[in-house]
């Protein structure tokens, strides 16, 4: 993660959003995807990603699948049914948060509404 506490609370939501868009993904793929989308500005650290994935799996939000790729096992994560519903909730929450922060940080833009 970029060296900021601000991103940490949103890591789960970021993972869920990516899985919603891409179906199933594996850990390394997620780190790369985030890098590409944010043009290298946001870098999810491995030490944060895997604990987050394992926790979401235990909560029943993610399900895992194993495939043999090249000469090794690959663990794919995908959203469960309840995970898909939860993603919608969390994205709405995050959007609210972004909107509120924007109004707080930049009060002038409120005048336009």
């Amino acid at each position: 993660m970029k060296n900021s506490q601000l991103y940490k609370g949103s890591l789960n939501t970021i993972i869920m959003k990516l899985l919603e868009e891409n179906g199933k993904m594996y850990g390394y793929e997620i780190t790369q995807k985030v890098k590409i989308i944010t043009h290298g500005e946001l870098n999810i650290t491995e030490g944060a990603l895997y604990p987050a994935l394992h926790k979401l799996e235990a909560e029943g939000i993610l399900d895992v699948e194993i495939a043999k790729v090249d000469n090794r096992m690959r663990k794919y994560y995908k959203l469960t049914e309840s995970g898909q519903k939860e993603t919608v909730n969390r994205l709405a929450e995050l959007e609210d948060f972004i909107r509120n922060m924007q109004s707080l940080v930049n009060p002038k833009s409120n005048l336009e509404f």
Binding site: G47, Y50, K55, I66, D70, R72, M73
Partner: protein, 235 residues
């Protein structure tokens, strides 16, 4: 450029050297490191395998894989506790509640009638302790064998076989029971206390039974549910 099978094996030993003892975590980390190394080679084909590996490992921070391992342990221990709790709750639903009531009343009537009730009580408790120790001993022997034969070890299997955080449970109530026995004349002469004591003892016996018998017996099912790769491994 792709990694060779030997290099994959090297990655497995690398995770082992860095205190990742369990196959489920090893294989995920190995795939991660392998992908990362291959990406580095695309950008800079001159890098050696070791250079690329070290660069990737640094990204995990000063504690290396420890963070990933610890969090995974915490998540799976929680899962274990939840499963034990579900089995425990079972005894308060139909039909098992009948058994719970019958055992409580059975113990109650023995303790109430018999002159040697306090010795019967302590005898039953000793039976539970001996049973727990026998199971623990069998498990530790099996684990040693696994390590000796370098078999794959699964973190959740190990949590089940070490009884999560319940491993000391067989001894925990010892003090309480000894205290109770010191006051046994008062307690065992009062039928309500005796009934309460019988109920507590039965609950304790149920927990011991769940963690030392039911959970290990169901281990295979739980492992299959936790790890899709466990099935591949057993084929």
């Amino acid at each position: 450029m792709k990694l060779t099978s030997e290099q994959i094996d090297q990655l497995f030993s690398f995770t082992r050297q860095h205190y990742v003892e369990w196959y489920d975590l090893q294989s995920e980390l190995v795939d991660h490191l392998a992908n990362a190394i291959e990406t580095q080679w695309e950008e800079n084909p001159k890098l050696t395998f070791d250079q690329a590996l070290n660069a990737e490992f640094k990204k995990f921070g000063v504690f290396g894989f420890m963070d990933v391992v610890e969090k995974r342990q915490a998540v799976l221990s929680k899962k274990y506790n939840r499963l034990v709790w579900e089995h425990f709750k079972d005894f308060f639903g139909i039909p098992k509640i009948v058994l719970l009531i019958a055992m409580t009343l059975g113990l109650f009537s023995i303790l109430k009638i018999n002159f040697y009730s306090q010795w019967i009580f302590i005898g039953l408790y000793l039976i539970l302790i001996v049973f727990s120790f026998r199971e623990m001993f069998k498990n530790s022997k099996r684990k040693k064998q696994q390590i000796k034969e370098v078999q794959k070890r699964w973190l959740f299997e190990e949590i089940i076989n070490q009884y999560g955080s319940f491993s000391v449970i067989a001894l925990t109530p010892l003090n309480i029971f000894i205290q109770l026995l010191n006051h046994s004349k008062d307690i065992l002469s009062n039928p309500y206390y005796t009934l309460g004591l019988s109920f507590l003892f039965v609950l304790f016996a149920i927990i011991v039974f769940i963690i030392f018998k039911i959970m290990p017996a169901k281990a295979e099912d739980y492992l299959l549910a936790t790890y899709p790769e466990y099935k591949l491994d057993r084929l």
